[in-house]
Symmetry: D2
Subunit: 244 residues, 4 copies
């Protein structure tokens, strides 16, 4: 890891371009909004943030970007299928072997990298936008630092259980939705050397990324997901001789 | 383990004795009600069920009972503090070393055996009786066999997060409560050689133990928690010599 | 699930065909050997066992076989790359949505289905055949029923940590190898509705499948991995309306 | 948490006083040795370290010390039974409700606070001092930062599986012992708001606390175990009204 945590915020950036209602909420794009609040919270200048989008050359993640990313944030929805399979494998390898952190948000539960990296179909129930309480079930975790008992969101898209994910390494948040549903809305995993945090808020028609606690959770998650200093190079199914 | 699964249902059996409203709902006591439905579901005669109560000699669990119990179910509330500390240690040892299954229900989250065996303060939020949906977040687990996506309870006492338990080995159910709360309502643990399943429904003023799915969950849990055939006697911090 | 547990033992079946030394140890093929001991242990006739191999039509797993398999056992090594990618996706879907059990053995840690289903690179260290002790770290689990403190194998191929797997849902066995290595040799996972058990012994030049405890572990695992009765059909990211 | 991480290193400090052989290895006491290397590694002055011993007033942990400790390290062996039960309950409450980190080392697996806080009998196998390799099974975790594939110790007391602990939240290290044994030697847990890390090296007749990687692991663990900023006060089974 370089001295700064090098964050790349990837957004498919389609809704904001084609839909007035979304662009009004996120005029800089969802990725632009996230960059803005991360920089605001980064009072000690520990982060170095880059944006990437589907329409960029190499879908925004050429080797020189991906290999110099410590934490990759991911927002996608209507264009999941357009993401290149080769890119997905490169992201996966960078998490597994390189220890890159990966933070899929909201509808990224059905994105190719999330499903490939985690081992999940990504299936869940969903419904219309409604009132949500995100309960903090793990006070004391670095990602919940500074987060109260619950976060209240006026409107978010309903995501409901059963969510067909592997049991999280750590379950940090559980959400209540007005119409009778619950959801494991904040989950950590590790895969290979990398750390993963899935967080549910962030529907393109809602204003969740402006909520100060949603912002704090994502800021905490970036710092938590940054790779550690490895004491050994990555092996590749090496043959080894006797140690004794 | 004997051929049959020897189940002991322990109930403090205080509310039913002193409160008309509770006795009307559970005329046989909560333990009596549980015995009745377990026997109904036990169509192959695999269970051998005994009742025990706080007012019984040795608080219902003399050595000859406890040492011949494969699965201990536990309901307690207003008399937690009256349970003998020595008994708690004997139950703990029977779980840890003997592999006895332990199924604490509802307000047993604050019982001495639950807190001692698990390592938890048992703290949670709570509120008045209200509508509850118990979501099945682990279809495919033996305890959720035959259980639909969710169980609906007209009224249950609200228990809410943060519930200060160790992260469950397996989280099976998450509950939604009408007034904005969520709860990890079905959790498995192992401790030593024993299996533990906590299940939240069962307030003394509610009729949850008459719900067919609540019944099925508890029946499944008894079968799941029964001890397995151990291939080795229990060691006790033995000193061992070289194997090679 | 049908009344019987329908087990399909898949083997790439290459070493036994082309190498005399392997065929001498496993004249029926590794799959044939496993079938034999499972049938020996199945004294109540609960299993219905089928064999499948890479060279069979549809690589041994046409839809009518796969869709009628409750538990799929998998042995592969030198021909991992020949397994059809479409088949891998069908197996994955059958585990995730159909709840099929999956039991990858030994060198299946690098097989396509293991890596796809679990989310792992499968990387590990390895070395020459040597003495192994498989320690039982979870007495009390159904898969370790009847298994002593440790299983001793005269010679097995060394597999060593770091094994780049997701942390197991349940870690059941840890192995000691003569030349200074350790390995998480028995691991359970769930993915979607399905249960997975990885078990390390089974090198083609060793006789581990003749060890009575290795046999008992695999027999226990088949019974553990069989799917449960689901109380609800599989959803597919359904939209849902208000419950309240 | 105060600006600095306030560490208290508790040692029963008996062997070093009464046995020449131990005092020769640890002339400052085991706690003194740990303080020395933590201070050496703490190049940015983030730690504030205090020593405490069984023979001190209030067994070294009066309220004004305990309530101002962020991370408590614990070494005990021959005097476990002398630790006051009231103190154990105060430590437990400080972990559960106050989020104090707790780092039990070596023979603290049988100490009262370890068993009470975790929910374990602490039982294991043990044997004479022998060669040990501590394998790093979780490269990428903050506690394994800078730690190579394995740590080699010339001689350590053998601790062996089955170790009757709850399955760790995260298993970081597995040890190989010369005479055929393995051990889960580095385990994280959370209990209530607090973080716990058990680490196995540290026999009083061995020199493990002088090993640079053992030192680094413990330094990393102190930083990992320090409590986070809680966004809400600790509740105590509070009753709550409707949020909607």
């Amino acid at each position: 890891m370089a001295n700064k945590i090098r964050v790349t915020i990837w957004n498919e950036y389609v809704h904001e371009v084609y839909e007035d209602a979304v662009r009004e909420i996120y005029p800089l794009g969802i990725h632009g909004c996230i960059k803005e609040f991360l920089e605001k919270l980064d009072v000690n200048g520990e982060l170095e943030i880059r944006l990437a989008a589907l329409a960029d050359p190499d879908q925004g993640l050429p080797d020189e970007v991906l290999n110099n990313t410590d934490v990759l944030m991911w927002w996608g929805h209507c264009a999941h299928h357009e993401v290149d399979d080769g890119l997905v494998q490169r992201i996966k390898a960078r998490v597994y072997d390189g220890g890159m952190g990966f933070i899929p948000m909201h509808s990224a539960h059905m994105s190719k990298p999330f499903r490939e990296i985690l081992g999940t179909s990504g299936k869940l129930l969903w419904g219309e936008d409604q009132h949500e309480f995100i309960w903090n079930v793990r006070p004391g975790h670095p990602i919940t630092a500074g987060i109260p008992e619950h976060i209240e969101l006026d409107k978010e898209e309903m995501y409901g259980e059963p969510f067909m994910i592997p049991q999280p390494d750590e379950l940090l948040f559980i959400s209540w939705f007005e119409q009778g549903y619950v959801f494991r809305s904040g989950c950590t995993y590790h895969r290979g050397r990398g750390k993963i945090f899935y967080f549910q808020p962030g529907h393109e028609y809602c204003r969740s990324f402006y909520n100060e606690y949603v912002q704090r959770v994502l800021y905490n998650a970036v710092k938590w997901a940054a790779p550690n200093d490895f004491g050994c190079p990555m092996h590749n199914c090496d043959m080894r001789g006797s140690l004794v």
